[in-house]
């Protein structure tokens, strides 16, 4: 059964002046445990598609069903709750909260979910260990390398036990060693915990790890291929 079903999704910016069709009738389905890369040239609609799946932007038409619930019709309040409990976000430029330590950044989401303190402590410890940054838990983000910050961002995305993770160009600012380490960690989580990852990327190394590659151009899906690594 599909976790996410996208049908006839369109998004047009500047509808009253010079219309830009960022998405032009996208139909896709994502199963649980997928490790998918959405690729294509800049401006092809990758990030817009991720934003629609994440409930960060509203489409011009079409629907995004997550476990049969259309998130495009949700009001602002419930949409925040939906994101909190269902989606993990990983951004290109990490976007950690600078005034919080590594540990506090990861536990921030769980505290928003009102999880009990022991559960929060245990999960944060576990995630930091899995990400290999346990020794950095009391450090603020500005004292970490890009790769370390992105690992904290992955730990934060996983902390809320989301249904899927949306990663927008997560390796764009990383060197090759950090990229490899990060991808290995995410692939491992995908294998072991059946965590669903959906990436938008230009990075060949991400594509090499992906089990499915969706190629977009001019707001349309032009190919959708399952690959065996």
């Amino acid at each position: 059964m599909a976790v996410i079903e996208i049908s006839s999704l369109t998004k047009t910016y500047n509808e009253t002046t010079v219309p830009v069709h960022a998405l032009n009738g996208v139909d896709l389905q994502f199963e649980k445990g997928e490790f998918t890369a959405i690729v294509g040239p800049s401006g092809c609609g990758k990030t817009t598609l991720l934003n629609m799946m994440g409930g960060l932007d509203a489409p011009s038409s079409g629907e995004v069903l997550v476990e049969n619930e259309d998130i495009t019709r949700m009001k602002a309040g419930p949409l925040v709750e939906y994101r909190l409990n269902n989606i993990g976000f990983i951004f290109q430029s990490y976007n950690l909260i600078p005034v919080l330590t590594v540990e506090e950044n990861v536990q921030f989401i769980m505290e928003l979910q009102h999880r009990n303190k022991k559960e929060v402590r245990d999960r944060v410890d576990h995630l930091l260990q899995v990400m290999g940054i346990s020794d950095k838990k009391t450090v603020r983000p500005k004292f970490l390398s890009g790769g370390q910050q992105q690992r904290v961002a992955v730990a934060r995305a996983l902390a809320s036990k989301p249904k899927f993770i949306l990663a927008d160009e997560p390796t764009a600012n990383l060197d090759s060693k950090s990229t490899d380490t990060l991808l290995d960690l995410m692939a491992e989580l995908n294998e072991q915990e059946q965590m669903t990852f959906i990436f938008s990327t230009h990075d060949q190394r991400v594509m090499d790890k992906a089990k499915r590659i969706i190629t977009m151009e001019d707001g349309k899906v032009i190919s959708d291929v399952k690959v065996s690594n």
Partner: protein, 407 residues
């Protein structure tokens, strides 16, 4: 909630220099505002204190009609009912009996119109420390002591010394002639030249004899434990007395002083308004900068599941922290100065002192240490900072996450 407070507090210090500059501006404005207000309230307190202690008391009880026609013919004989009504009021700390009239004071070739006040020595001293103002001679011991107390200004004018005789000539009760010779028992000096130049004191018994007004008084001047409850005390007194008596509060008997204070107070409030405009713009500028440079961070926080209402709360907490820190620091900075000036008020000299004297006010500038001063500033700054925080709150509730994340 602790999580939000922690975030707000840390956000405040992420640009330490900017926060310190903003705090300094709030601090200076608050310190200045408290100082101005404290001085104003202190001076008003001094004006009111002078009027109350040297003249009417907080409340005055006199015969009906006396205030409009201050003649000795409108004097009264105190009775048991009046005493019991006064005694029943716990807020009354002192009821000072007086017999007041006017007379011509004469010595040799010199004559001057003076106010004559018959007093109960102990009560009068308790009210205005008259016994401590004696610079030569001895104060009255009983309310039937002979002799007269005159101010040093009048003594100079009439060329009189201790032991010399002063002649008083005036009109007594119901048209009787009031004439008497009084040895100068003591010379006093008040900080108010008007009193020194134009007032003489007799013991109450001597004054009643002079004015042929045995057992009669013109007023009871009432001092209060808590002047803030003046209205209530006045109402209780009036309710306990019949129509033969009039109970008046000091503002009704000193309308010129009330108007003077109101006029000056309005000017002071305008000054404060300008100061707080400066504070408001300072805080708003900082809040605006803090909002602009954190747009993307706000978007990320809402994207990962922080409700805009909670984000608004973080921002408003930041503004409150700035305001409150400024208020506390400003109050702590200015408090020692105000305490010093409260106990060692600035004494005016020259023309400024003369202007005060002409209004019958002691020429000093004491400060007020009323806690309400500090509380009111705190509340005001809190309101200003909350208003300054409205912009980021509006922003937080309107921005588009996807667009902001692109920045």
């Amino acid at each position: 909630m602790m999580q939000l407070i922690k975030l707000a507090w840390r956000n405040l210090w992420r640009s330490r220099r900017r926060t310190l500059i903003t705090l300094a501006s709030v601090l200076m404005a608050v310190a200045l505002a408290i100082a101005i207000r404290s001085l104003q309230i202190g001076v008003y307190g001094n004006m009111i204190g002078n009027a109350v202690r040297f003249s009417t008391g907080y409340i005055q009880i006199h015969a009906a009609g006396y205030y409009d026609d201050q003649s000795i013919n409108n004097s009264f004989v105190s009775d048991d009912n009046l005493q019991s009504v006064i005694d029943a009021q716990q807020n009354i700390s002192l009821a000072v009996p007086r017999l007041e009239s006017f007379a011509l004071a004469s010595s040799g070739q010199h004559t001057k119109g003076v106010g004559v006040m018959g007093i109960h020595p102990d009560a009068e001293s308790e009210m205005n420390n008259l016994n401590e103002k004696i610079v030569q001679g001895t104060y009255f011991k009983t309310d039937s002591d002979t002799g007269i107390l005159i101010g040093d200004g009048l003594a100079d004018y009439l060329k009189l010394n201790l032991g010399d005789t002063l002649v008083l000539l005036g009109q007594g009760f119901q048209g009787a002639t009031a004439a008497g010779k009084f040895p100068i028992r003591a010379i006093f000096h008040f900080p108010l030249e008007e009193i020194n130049n134009t007032l003489v004191y007799l013991s109450l018994g001597e004054a009643q004899t002079l004015f042929a007004a045995q057992n009669r008084l013109t007023s009871y001047s009432i001092m209060l434990n808590d002047p803030k409850k003046m209205d209530r005390t006045r109402n209780h007194l009036q309710a306990g007395l019949d129509e033969r008596w009039e109970v008046m509060e000091w503002p009704a008997m000193n309308k010129a002083l009330v108007q003077e204070i109101q006029g000056d107070n309005a000017g002071g409030l305008i000054m404060l308004g300008i100061l707080y405009m400066v504070v408001a713009f300072g805080v708003f500028g900082t809040i605006l900068m803090m909002t602009m440079e954190r747009k993307k961070e706000f978007a990320v926080m809402v994207a990962i599941g922080l409700k805009p209402t909670k984000l608004s709360l973080i921002v408003i907490l930041e503004t409150i922290f700035i305001g409150m820190l400024g208020v506390i620091a400003g109050a702590v900075l200015i408090l020692p100065v105000l305490i010093y000036l409260h106990w060692n008020p600035i004494t005016l000299t020259g023309a400024a002192a003369q202007a005060y004297q002409e209004y019958g006010i002691e020429p000093i500038l004491p400060t007020s240490l009323d806690p309400a001063l500090f509380i009111n500033q705190g509340i005001l700054v809190l309101i200003i900072t909350c208003i300054s925080g409205l912009y980021p709150i509006l922003y937080v509730n309107r921005f588009k996450i996807a667009e902001t994340l692109k920045i």
